[in-house]
Symmetry: C7
Subunit: 242 residues, 7 copies
């Protein structure tokens, strides 16, 4: 039969409730997240790491010029899975919010608060007409004042949750399973990074291999409180340790 509810359900101009209390457009937007490149974050006592995978569909793609982990401010970064152009819009917004905070209060923005203001934009796009939800989930991580590591993931609904470890995108399910078995909070920074890389590696198909061009790594340790991205050679080096 050709003309069932599902056929009608997805082509309407506003995000509204289904009879069971779901917001279909929001659920569908999450499907876009699930189709994105795998990305993940880990938080331990030593700090936070964000790792994004980059898949080379064709040799002609200049994959080293593609960014998957983004610095939002000195102390906080993010990664995303889903529609890249939607992600860009939210990252621009997050950066401008972080910058304004520094200008006005002369101190780094609180990471929970930064996540909240980004999520508030997402929520608005699920309740008002004439727009569609953002088809992207962000993993935001960094170090708050007082050396507190933070790791949060925002969903297309505008809901966000704090995590010890979180993975989204195509390999999100597999990596999450890996974390559930292997996560420990008392790791040093390097082991935290290695845990994240191993989680990503667990999502590879047989024969695939992670190279320094396939991943981006950003991390912040509680001591420095700075979020920085690893260089190509640093990535090559740490991949040796797998």
């Amino acid at each position: 039969m050709a003309f069932g509810p599902a056929a009608m359900g997805y082509d309407r101009a506003i995000t509204i409730f289904s009879p069971d209390g779901s917001l279909y457009q929001v659920d569908y937007a999450f499907e876009a997240v699930k189709k994105g490149w795998t990305t993940l974050g880990v938080k331990t006592k030593s700090g936070v790491v964000l790792i994004g995978e980059k898949r080379k569909a064709t040799q002609l793609l200049d994959i080293d010029s593609i960014e998957k982990v983004f610095i939002l401010d000195d102390h906080v970064g993010c990664s995303f899975a889903g529609l890249a152009s939607d992600g860009r819009v939210l990252i621009d917004y997050a950066r401008s919010q972080a910058l304004q905070h520094r200008l006005i209060y002369d101190e780094p923005i609180n990471i929970d608060y930064l996540t909240k203001v980004v999520s508030d934009v997402k929520q608005m796009y699920t309740q008002h007409g004439g727009v569609r939800p953002f088809g992207v989930a962000l993993i935001i991580g960094g170090i708050d004042r007082g050396k507190v590591p933070k790791l949060l993931m925002t969903e297309p609904s505008g809901q966000f949750m704090p995590y010890y470890a979180v993975a989204i995108g195509q390999g999100g399910y597999t990596a999450t399973e890996f974390f559930e078995k292997n996560y420990r909070e008392d790791l040093n920074m390097q082991d935290t990074i290695l845990l994240g890389i191993r989680a990503l590696a667990s999502t590879l198909k047989p024969g695939e291999k992670l190279g320094p061009s396939n991943i981006e790594v950003g991390y912040a340790d509680v001591d420095s409180g700075m979020f920085r991205k690893m260089s190509f050679s640093e990535r090559a080096e740490i991949l040796q340790k797998l």
Copy 2:
């Protein structure tokens, strides 16, 4: 047959009446409330308590960083069931209203009035086009001047009612039944809190157990007139008394 009224009914751009005088979008929004984590409130002569459950879907969730009971002002707090991002918007609004009231009148906002202004926003989202109703119910509780305990619940329709005890979310039905059997108005503060925790415990499945990480507790006693949240250790301690 695939293409009945229900299939059409939920995908329209505005909250309108069905032939029997219902507002479908509002009813569907209430379904979102019913799917939320259980939350409840109790009002006795001694004060008011709000308790929210936190369910740990995965060990990787940093559940202690999640808030389910919120301080709105010194004398009043709230909890909610339903879409978390919708709840956040209303809590932000309630806080700013309470704050403005203090600034303008130099006294705490009346809790009935605070509930009304939040509910008026909800009502507007059920009557005007281009938006969907809020998929969230709030339980608001606190102590008004004159040592009067207050406990109200606002529905997605914008209707609100005063209660002695009220429970919403997944376990709302079971907890309400518990209250109908066990509620008494003449309890001291600690027994009031214990009554609420027991009501929440009544919703657990066999084998489940409440721990200090699974609940948030906020309360206000008529003497102090202050709404405060219990710490982890306080929660651990009172759970001992079950």
Copy 3:
């Protein structure tokens, strides 16, 4: 067959005419009125009384804190049946109109005029797009200058009519029948109130009984010209006289 006109008719974004000249959304809004708690009004030579029923779905409802009869100004009050949140919006509007009138003209607002301005808001919500009609009917009663008792009922369409006695909500039909048999214009104030209470009592199911917590009573006698609400004890006392 699943996909008939009714299935389509109620899910459109604006209140428009059906082929027989009805406004479906307005008719459906009236259904919401019919599902509300019973409320009624009586006008005699001695004055006007408004009575609202309060049904206790659960013992946990703090029914004494719920208002069903509202003072709009010194000389006029109202009650309603239908969506409580819609009613609240119109009562707020009526109160502010009455207040403005006192401020500008230094005299009480004429009750016909007050009813008209409230009804004009209702009419607007039946003719313009992007909104739904108000799902509420108001009974407005009071004493105009010159000791003239007034009793009017406004429908969701924005139409309003003057009545000697009127009843709406679940028991509206039964109470109206009671009035048609028992109404007399030459009653004193207490008998007017008793007539209203008896009309409400006529709507009870076998075994049900009116208690002072189940009703709210407001009245205005032509001599004082003031609209006042009965206290719990006054209600208990008059119920004795049934």
Copy 4:
């Protein structure tokens, strides 16, 4: 089969053309007029009379407080059939236009012009989106300067026509037939009024009877040039002459 053109035709957000050049919403609005209480007007050399019927659905309706004939200005009045709340909006508008005219030009508004400005509002509601047409027809009558009697009827389309006699509402067809047989232009004022009352009486069902509470009568004679409404006793007196 349930899902024909008519089922679709009436539930759209704007008044548009059908393939045969009709405006369905306007036609449907006229159906609302046909369901209204009967109202009529007569114009003779002596003056103009407007008569509105009031049907008492229930004894509880305070029918003497209901207005069906309205004074717009000293020299002009109107009556209507259709949605009462729509009629009220247009009467308010007509009154304010007549008043403004007096204020600006210090003379009574021309009745053709007054009818035109009211009809222009109606036309706008048939051509622009987001609104529905007015479900009401107005009969406007009075005396223009130079002792010229005027009688016009405005349709929901915004079209208006001058008449010698016109009747609309439930009994419009029957009363029009009566006028076509009995109308004469050379009547004095009283006979003009009696002609109108007889036309209304012709619409009654067997056993029904017109009483002074069932009709409202307004008239303007060319000599005085004033539009005035008959009192209860005047109505009672003239009904004697039938």
Copy 5:
């Protein structure tokens, strides 16, 4: 089968193209024109005449008070077929444009230009959302400076064309056929008027007859350059000459 393209085609909110490049709403609006009272215009070397028919549906219609030919300015008039209320809006607009032109340039508006500005309004109502096209065609005629007679007809699409003779409305087809057989450019003013009246007479059904109450006649001769309407007696007189 009930649910074909035509059933869907006419109930949409905007005038858009059909697959064959038609604008359905515009075509349907033309149907409204075809259902209107017959109206026509003739242009010869001597001048221009506009004639509108008035059909008396009922004796009760005060047909002599109905206008079908309108003076727009001293030198130009118009008539229309279609929705009367739509025509009124455009005539008001044309008059204000002609008046403004006189005020600003101190000379009569060029008739081609006047027709263009009216037609530009019509075009706008065929290309933008939220409105329907005008259901009316205007015949505009007069004498431009230099004693140039002008006769133009504007369609609902906003297209306009110059004509020697043109007829629209119910009898448009028949009258056009009459003109195609009988039109000559070298007629004096009276013969021009008679040609127009004969064309209108050709549209009558057997047994029907034109009387001075059934037609309105406006004309402008090149010598005076003034557009004037014939009085009742002038119309009666010229009808004698048929």
Copy 6:
């Protein structure tokens, strides 16, 4: 079967993509162009000519007063096929742009640029909601500074292309075929005009003949750089040379 994709495709409020990447409304608008009167342009080394056909549906049409070739500025003209009222809007816009350019820069507007600004308006009407595309194609021709002949055609999509010779409307296909066989760039002005007229003649049905009333001719030669229209006698004269 009546209810296929085509039946739905044309009745929507915005120009959107079909699954194969077409914009249906734009394609349908082009159908309106194909139904218009034939119009064409030729560009040679000597200059540019635009020729529009005028078909006399009825003898009553004052065809000599109809314009099909329009002067936009001293050096540039245009013609169009499709909806006449849409064409008028764009020609008005082109003229005002050309005029503004002269006022601001004191030099004639570049023809490519003029075509671009007109086409940008067309593009906007294909991408934004609440409007339909323009149902008209313009042929714009003239001489740019440096004695450069220019000939461009703009489609409803807003795309425009430069041509040596181009023909649109009912006879567009036939005339294009004629050009493909007979076009040469090295013609003098008169032969250029004759080539265009012969192309138009090639589209006639057997028995049809071009007369000076059936065509409008505008041309610009590189020497004068002026776009001028041929008079009736000039057209009569050149038609002799066929």
Copy 7:
């Protein structure tokens, strides 16, 4: 069966998610890109080249006046495949952004940033109602400060990626295959251009041949840092070297 999901899916007023997380309108817009003329870009150590094909549908098209490669600023150019009028809008925007950057910062705009601002406009047209996505993909190439060659392609979604070589349009697939076999980074400028031309030649059908009128070539070498377009004779010359 005529009425399947696809039939409904493409005719809605906003770009929304399908159940699998796709944005249909964006996917359909990409189909428009695939139907465009082939265009491609190559980036090597020596510089960047952009090549656009021009197909001569008819001899009458003045193909040498058509532009397919556009200079955006001294150091950067672009080409596109898809809807030409959409492309024009984005190129205008890119040029104005590049110009503003020079005016404000007195230095050339960074090519990544330029690509981002253009892509942000595209993204906006995929998330907001009342518009359709841009049906065009742009290839942007040039030399950034520090002699860094850049080559990026923006999709209708607003996503953009950096490439070594990229081809879009009708021959995009074939040319991409050619690049995957033949691309080398260490080519001098002339060989880079030849590689691009050969890739384009690989898309020709048997019997087709590239001539200097069929292609446009723009390139920027790292030494000069300037983006320039090849003249007709340069194109003729390099085609000799194939």
